[in-house]
């Protein structure tokens, strides 16, 4: 019956209870939308980086990781084939792509810049990355010709380059000798990551080999079946690799992305914590008012023999019920709103350039993150529990005689 009394007590002051329940619901609703939005934005950024450029993991030689010299290869062709086969045999690996990675310079008629030259096997790139789908002009080595170059739009603009513009690339061969070769822009790409676009350019591996005199493979990009438990998969894969090579997960390849992921989780818990703090004071205020209004009744209950444990329990249950009503309402509202936003997206076109710098599209599609529903439920219950303490202590301190008299 204590539950019945607590439940009915909530509705004694309907307006006040609706305000508290409403604030709990709105707080949770807002929290879920923030979570959905943040995850949508961050996951899109991560998925874009993984899918377009860096893959889920990358394998390099240990020496390359220490210093990315041209000579720090993964071995000869047979070694690379064997390595790729080992990796592709793992059940969670969808495919691999090999690359030549050279540090170099690009010179145009207008300017010069330091760049990273990616010598690619176009078919591999098409299968394992989405970069070939991000061409804004030209093509990704589909047309015939020699010394073709695919360059990021941002870098092309800085260097004043257009399709068929001629540039000179300078890089080291495996012996450390500087080599120069002229290339012609055959494609201009644009990913969501403007920083990547400004620093990376792609050439056909055959064109590089003609200048270098030998095929060099510095990197094997690995794509998993899905972007879940990538850290665990990377650890498992690392254990199957031969000596002298090392594996980096996408978080290690692009620490900024991994850091954003971890920081976002912390930030979201903090945001939820702040929302719960605001709710905490609202609930405490509501319950203190309720206690004040029911002094006579509480005094009577103490007088007739309701012990402190039961009195405490009654107030605790009453406070929890506020959360149990407001919590699910907020979760349902948040879930429905997020699902709606998942369909139509949140249009931030006015912040398009800034978002592009972050590697994010201008329309954000929020995501449902079920584990946060559990976190929110736990936080609501905890908040209600904490909120019940002060009103319950106040009630326990009442003097029955004075309370009955309404003093």
């Amino acid at each position: 019956m204590i539950f019945k009394v607590a439940w009915r007590n909530i509705w004694r002051s309907k307006v006040r209870s609706f305000i508290v329940i409403g604030s709990i619901a709105v707080g949770i609703w807002a929290g879920l939308l923030i979570i959905g939005f943040s995850f949508g934005m961050n996951n899109e950024r991560t998925a874009s980086a993984i899918g377009t450029t860096i893959g889920h993991a990358q394998i390099h030689s240990n020496t390359f990781d220490a210093e990315p010299l041209s000579s720090a290869t993964l071995g000869d062709s047979a070694d690379v084939v064997a390595l790729r086969r080992t990796v592709e045999d793992l059940p969670f690996v969808a495919g691999t792509a090999q690359r030549t990675v050279l540090q170099g310079m690009i010179n145009s008629a207008k300017s010069a810049r330091a760049v990273r030259i990616m010598g690619v096997w176009p078919e591999d790139e098409r299968l394992q990355t989405t970069l070939p789908m991000n061409l804004v002009e030209g093509d990704f080595f589909e047309s015939t010709g020699r010394n073709r170059l695919v360059i990021g739009e941002k870098l092309a603009n800085r260097l004043g380059l257009k399709l068929r513009s001629k540039v000179v690339l300078t890089f080291q061969d495996a012996e450390g000798t500087l080599s120069r070769a002229s290339f012609r822009v055959s494609g201009i790409y644009k990913t969501l990551n403007a920083t990547w676009d400004e620093f990376h350019l792609y050439v056909h591996h055959e064109d590089l080999e003609k200048t270098l005199g030998t095929p060099l493979v510095h990197e094997v990009l690995v794509r998993f079946n899905e972007t879940v438990n990538t850290d665990e998969k990377a650890v498992e894969m690392a254990s199957s690799l031969p000596e002298g090579v090392a594996l980096k997960s996408w978080k290690q390849v692009n620490p900024e992305l991994g850091f954003a992921d971890d920081m976002m989780a912390i930030m979201l818990v903090l945001v939820l914590g702040i929302i719960m703090m605001a709710l905490l004071f609202g609930i405490i205020n509501n319950m203190l008012m309720a206690i004040l209004e029911r002094r006579r009744e509480l005094g009577m209950l103490m007088a007739v023999g309701m012990n402190k444990r039961k009195l405490f329990l009654m107030i605790l249950v009453e406070t929890l019920m506020l959360g149990f009503v407001g919590g699910p309402v907020g979760i349902v509202l948040g879930d429905l709103s997020t699902r709606l936003m998942m369909q139509i997206g949140i249009d931030l076109t006015s912040k398009k350039d800034g978002l592009a710098e972050l590697g994010v599209q201008s329309i954000i599609y929020p995501e449902i993150v079920p584990e946060y529903y559990i976190i929110i439920a736990i936080m609501v219950v905890t908040t209600a529990l904490i909120a019940s303490i002060l009103p319950a202590v106040r009630a326990l301190k009442l003097n029955p005689v004075q309370a009955i008299r309404g003093e």
Binding site: M1, V304, G305, M306, N307, K308, V401, I404
Partner: protein, 226 residues
């Protein structure tokens, strides 16, 4: 010979202040089982304070109160709560029913605090409400009942825990004459038929006329005991 229910010896209650107030000033009394006793006197004479002391709601400055052989002045707060629950029924001037519960639930609630089984609670609550003339009103909440009916629910509630005695503080103060007569008849009937001991603090002549023992109090002392 009637059994002694309450034994009060040299009871004093002094409220500290710039001028200490002796609300109860050396009272010694014996109340026996089955009494229908009124503590009468003007406002501020100390009768409510005495009632509160008897009910263990307040601690005396000195003296002892033995109820069924237990000196309640020596009990801890938690022991007193439990003692009140099992031995004393209260009827308050302002009824003090729980507004969100029905008449039957209000009566049952005390038995719930005593951890009695649901069937027993429901059966006794119905029986008591019938005894106080509220058959058919079991499902109504206090707000749907008249003042007299609410006070009858309060009497049923006081009896629900099967107490040794019932303390009633100005139970008729808010009632009209008809309701007062009804209520007194019910309490007198319960007193006679069930042997329930009633102690009233009152200055209502209608109550005093019904009482079989009248203790007059003035300035915290017993003036007369008839």
């Amino acid at each position: 010979m009637s059994k002694s229910v309450i034994e009060i010896k040299n009871l004093e209650k002094v409220y500290d202040g710039a001028v200490p107030v002796h609300a109860v000033n050396g009272i010694s009394l014996t109340i026996t089982e089955g009494e229908f006793t009124a503590l009468k006197g003007p406002s501020g004479c100390g009768k409510t304070t005495l009632l509160n002391l008897l009910g263990g709601l307040d601690k005396p400055s000195s003296g002892s109160i033995e109820i069924g052989g237990v000196d309640i002045t020596t009990l801890s707060e938690n022991q007193l709560i439990d003692f009140r629950l099992r031995n004393i029924g209260f009827v308050f001037q302002a009824y003090n029913l729980i507004p969100v519960l029905s008449a039957q639930e209000n009566v049952s609630f005390i038995m719930l605090l005593q951890d009695r089984p649901k069937e027993e609670r429901e059966a006794r609550a119905k029986q008591l409400l019938e005894a106080v003339g509220l058959k058919g009103k079991e499902g109504q909440r206090p707000g749907q009942l008249s003042g007299g009916q609410q006070q009858r629910v309060a009497v049923a509630r006081a009896l629900a825990s099967k107490p040794q005695f019932v303390l009633a503080d100005e139970p008729t103060a808010n009632l009209d004459s008809t309701s007062t007569a009804n209520l007194l008849d019910i309490m007198e009937k319960l007193n006679k038929e069930e042997g329930m001991t009633f102690v009233f603090a009152t200055h209502d002549d209608r109550v005093i006329k019904k009482a079989r023992r009248i203790i007059s109090i003035e300035d915290g002392k017993v003036l007369s005991d008839e």
